[in-house]
Amino acid sequence: MTITAMLFMLLGLGLIAWLTGRARAIALAGNGKSRLNSLPNYHGWYVLAWVIIPAAIFTLVWQNISPVLITNNVLASPDAVSLPSDAGARAAILSEARNIANGVQDVAFQDGSEKLVDDYRQATSLYNLIQLIILGIIIFACGAFAFLRIKPDFRARSKVERLMLGVLLAASLIAIITTLGIVASLMFETFQFFTHVSVSEFIFGTEWNPKKHTTPGEYNGYGAIPLFWGTIFIGAIIAMIVAIPLGLMSAIYLTQYASTKLRAWMKPILELLAGIPTVVYGYFAALTIAPAVRDFAVMLGVSNAASDNAMAAGLVMGVMIIPLVASMSDDSIAAVPSAMRDGSLAMGATKSETIKKVLLPAALPGVVGGILLAVSRAIGETMIVVMAAGYTANLTANPFASITTVTVQIVALLTGDQDFGSPQTLAAFALGLLLFCVTLMLNLIALRIVKKYREEYE
């Protein structure tokens, strides 16, 4: 049975269960003659939960064990005797026969797989029948159990609410599962990568030129230093040179100087800047900014200016980060008690002196936290650098040269047609793990600074 059909069937059964449970509760109450402990709806939900949850669990388990059972059944058939003894060849034939039987594949390529198709069909229908029967028994038994428990004084509400609490907790656990999933999957692939390439080469090597086949003990071109440098140069240097002054000054102007009307206009415009997809920034950087930067560099007399240069990517990324820096600075400036500002103004300081000497120093931890978050965003940013920076690893401080970053290389390594186990593919996960750790650290520090600072004045 397909998943969709299963889903609809369960939903239908659930509705029936809900209605019958509710109806029984109402009937037992006898039009208010005896008082129900819980509202009728809760009895409905109680029966529904008993019908759907065991059935869903059984279906999930069955999805995973039935292929094994079916395959065993096929192997027991007389046609399977002629299968080769080699495990790999055997599995290939079996999976092909299964694909044909399920209609995924039309023609057989392997010897002997066609013979097994009918066996597969028979086994599948047999086990589908078994599944339906067990499912029917489970639904009926659980439903009847729940239905019979309904009495006027049955505490359906507390049971349903306890279940609900479990559902809420499970929903929040998904965040942990995702985090663990990220760490586990990246770690797993990274360990495999380090069986091909030595850790010291990866961390201290200065040449990035990944080879498909590695030889142990030799230098294989997996030195990631140029990538780290490119990432820092574009994300933490060029982008921040643009974003910090512009973002900070925008925040100061909008909160301290601007009229209400200008603020009402400019805030959404800054938000709009934050809402534009990065692929659009990337396209803009590659098509418009990068050629302009190259022409400018040529005008300055830089001979080796590339058309995909670090400058273009960094500039556009900086603009993308402006709203983030602005809103974080805005928050921390607004958190400075107005008594401090008023005091400074009352002493005769001008507004700019107040801002420079009182507000900014007081807001500095929050601003620094915001900048760290911005750096973390910039070094994880992908599309702008993929489209506007280059693919060639280059250990240079020339902003007009083509420079590559960690994220660019992840994309480059994973969008080719390499097979999954090759060191090139695995290298992407090592880079990903590194990126994850660095951004995680930056975020933790930033959040801690921002939080600690906020509490100071409260």
Binding site: S172, Y253, G380
Partner: protein, 421 residues
């Protein structure tokens, strides 16, 4: 007054030194203010430049150049009739007519042998669609406006090479060239020829991916926000959940792509480049955003409401689901729409799970290979063919319009349902 000590002489405001100092301070004040204004203006100018740049290039993508060709259908198709191309097998019958050959013959008659330099390679397909809509055309001699190829199209829009410009000038003199709104761009799928490429398959893919993202991220996000804000005891586990959620919201999106690649594709063996995997991956990314927005919205509901409901005997669960959640819902929805808008514009994680396949026909199910708008933009931006520049910008316009509509909805919701207690 006699011997009262004067601590400090009164400020002499007329002293030229003082005047100079004050002037200097005022000048620095003005300078500072101006720098602020300039930084705000720079952001606005950049945004305006970007938008005008996209609009300027993109609007051409919505236009299509066509040239007239008169085709004597009865003579060229060997007497096919309305009855022969209607009925259930209409499409097959029309396919059997070799309309591409018919069109090419007619074009050669009228434009000489350089027809391949003028018209799009999709003229046969264009004629087929026309005949499907109006079968009676098969019995008439009709003048069709056939799409030209992308070089001529670019030349007509004012940016072509010399040879194409000359052809356009010739066609203009003959009065057979025209520019129409390009419906095919909105309804067509990806193609290798820019004059045929459209965004419908990518658009549909985006919608399907968003449906999956929404169905998964919204309930999970709201439920965990409720748990963390209303029920969670203060212990190690809930602390860890909280830190995880805050961190997930700041993890680079490409990492979610790697997660999707390893877990959904490699471990679970789900279909590569399908809307289902794309939606799952984006849901994991969007969920923390919804949780954080949801918690803020729930926090904003005043305790008096909870206490009042408790006071008349509601259980904690009833308080949450009957009172707090409905009041917090507008705020949660606003956050959800903003999170979805971000997911809609996301490219990098989808590249990781292989959603960069060439998809010309829209996916019909959630498991089929599909494309999404941002990835389509990325792929087109890499094309060498110059005709794709305007298509890319046009696709960007569509994406931006969609995003702005979503953000406008969020702002409207926020203003409409903003409660002050």
């Amino acid at each position: 007054m006699s011997n009262a000590q004067i601590l400090r002489t009164p400020t002499d405001w007329n002293n030229p030194d003082m005047q100079r100092r004050i002037q200097k301070r005022y000048a620095s004040e003005k300078r500072f203010r101006l720098i602020g204004l300039v930084s705000v203006a720079l952001s606005a100018i950049f945004l305006a430049f970007l938008l005008f740049n996209m609009l300027g290039q993109g609007f051409k993508g919505f236009l299509q150049t066509r040239a007239e060709v008169t085709i004597d259908m009865p003579a060229m198709t060997g007497g096919a009739s309305v009855t022969s191309i209607s009925g259930p097998n209409a499409e097959a019958a029309i396919n059997g007519l070799d309309l591409q050959g018919v069109a090419q013959a007619a074009i050669t008659q009228q434009y000489g042998n350089d027809q391949g330099k003028i018209f799009s390679s999709s003229v046969g397909n264009y004629l087929k669609l026309q005949l499907l809509d109006n079968p009676e055309l098969i019995e008439q001699k009709t003048t069709f406006n056939l799409p030209v190829n992308s070089e001529i199209d670019i030349a007509n829009k004012g940016d072509g090479d010399a040879e194409s410009e000359a052809i356009v000038a010739r066609l203009e003199k003959a009065g057979t060239i025209s520019t129409v709104f390009n419906m095919d761009f909105l309804t067509g799928g990806d193609a290798t020829d820019p004059s045929e490429a459209g965004i419908w398959s990518a658009f549909k893919g985006s919608l399907m991916t968003m449906v999956i993202t929404m169905l998964l991220a919204f309930p999970v996000g709201v439920l965990s926000a409720l748990y963390l804000e209303e029920f969670a005891p203060k212990n190690r586990l809930t602390d860890f959940i909280e830190v995880s959620i805050n961190n997930l919201a700041a993890v680079p999106s490409i990492i979610f792509g790697l997660l999707g690649l390893v877990i959904f594709l490699s471990w679970f063996g789900m279909a590569r480049s399908s809307a289902l995997v794309g939606g799952l991956t984006l849901a994991l990314m969007t969920m923390p955003v919804i949780v954080i927005a949801g918690r803020n919205a729930i926090k904003a509901v005043p305790p008096s409401i909870r206490e009042a409901a408790m006071g008349i005997g509601a259980s904690p669960m009833q308080v949450i689901f009957h009172h707090v959640l409905p009041l917090a819902l507008p705020g949660i929805l606003t956050g959800t729409i903003i999170g979805m808008a971000r997911a809609l514009g996301e490219t990098a994680p989808l590249l990781m799970i292989g959603m960069r396949a060439f998809v010309s026909t829209p996916a019909s199910g959630f498991g089929d290979p599909s494309s999404v708008l941002p990835v389509q933009i990325y792929l087109w931006s890499d094309e060498v063919n110059r005709g794709f520049v305007e298509k890319t910008s046009a696709a960007i316009i569509v994406l931006l319009i969609f995003l702005m509509a979503m953000n406008a909805t969020a702002i409207y919701l926020r203003n409409r349902f903003e409660n002050r207690w």
